[in-house]
Amino acid sequence: MGEKIDPNLWSDGATPHLMGGRLPSGQIVFPMPTGDAAEGVEPYKLSRRGKLWSWTQQGFLPKEPYEGPGSGPGEGPPDFQPFLLGYVELPGEVIVESLIVDARLEDLHLGMELEFCIVPFNARYDTFAFRPAAQAESQAA
């Protein structure tokens, strides 16, 4: 396990949750606000299950501040692999932007069930992602 890319991004423990915030109005937001904007906002453990709201594939090596594969010293576009990302609707809570793993572009469809997971990101950090829920279940079984 690597270091968390942000110490407050998800909860620790055997079953981690992405951390959002509950505004005084009751609205759930992501990410949890920081600084003065956090006043009156309660940290909120977001649901680990959601539905795919939209998606795309990142086809080229992003510039800074990207720190994933291809961005390291001496690395470049040949070291980069296109990756999937999208928005995941956590029912009744909020729609979060996330990397999507363990799936192929052609498998993605609106409303597909996804599950939260933690994945290695680079030599130093882990980050969060969502993966197809069925696969997550069969792996757990």
Partner: protein
Amino acid sequence: MSENVYIIGAGIHPFGRTDSRSGREQGVYAVREALADAGLDWPDIECAYGGSAAAGNADIMVNELGLTSLPFTNVANGCATGGSALAASQQAIASGMYDLALAVGFDKHPRGAFNAKPSDYGLPEWYGQTGMMLTTQFFALKIQRYMQLHGISRTTLGRVAEKAFRNGTITPHAWRRSPVDLDTIMNAPMINDPLTKYMFCSPAEGAVALILASEKKMKELGADGVKIRAVSVKTRPPNSFEVFQAGISIEEGGKPTVLASQAAFEKAGIGPEDISVAQLQDTESGAEIMHMAENGFCKDGEQEEWLANGWTEIGGGKLPVNTDGGCLACGEPIGASGLRQVYENVTQLRGRAGERQVPGKVRFGYSHVYGAPGLSGVAILERE
């Protein structure tokens, strides 16, 4: 009381890449073109508003243009820099304080996609580190969902780009002047699915200057003016879905483009059916499609039929859209891009667009710019 305001001079520095000129030098070039067009000299200009996103302050242009002591306000409003400069100069004249004002925008960006700093947008560092802070992704994510919900095909995305490049071939200020066929567009490398390389505009260089006048001044000069019927700039309302958002509300909110469009139509006292030519933000093919509906020109999903039938072509029968090739063919120098749209409408309304002139009576021209972090500017011009 509010005075009528007219655009009496319009100048442009060709968009694309001009290694020999800085962004600001391109701005000075555009100002001189606009002055010549209006038959004015620099000392005639009473106030100025302008800026760039990446090419420095506009007010330094007085070094080249002349030290006339005019008030020159720098505008730094991202993608709305040009639109905000236009709104400010329009207000300066509408208020009755000035009779002649300049709005100018210019830019010069490095090659490749824009890279943004999370802290500049109030976002946590991980959002950039993990590769999710790219404007191109936002556009892909927005159109991907829209296509699923409203039955827009990939071919329609391709047709938007094909039209842009075709219009670019007949536009002297465009960057991309060669046609690109539909197959090439559809089979080009995928940048962010469903958008290929040819469906995205590129950061570029260029400059536009507009000279605005009161009605009294326009008549006094005998200038060829186009009336500004309405200008509206709106930032995002609650629960909207915009570029650079790690979280979106599950409640569907409003859209800045819809708000700016409705406000502009209301101010102008006309509707979408009255517009003869429209320049709509086309950062990529999907944006033009969605903005057709957000600006009220068609219903969600009807774009499929519109593009298949060529209804947005010059002379296509319904509404010519992005007659100069838009951002797709001109590139996107952020500070100048919104004013380019207005320049194109001034040119069309004056009947000076040459090969790309929209046929028939062109009375109302509509322009719409959209940018980070969720703002839209709309201008409606009228040929009286």
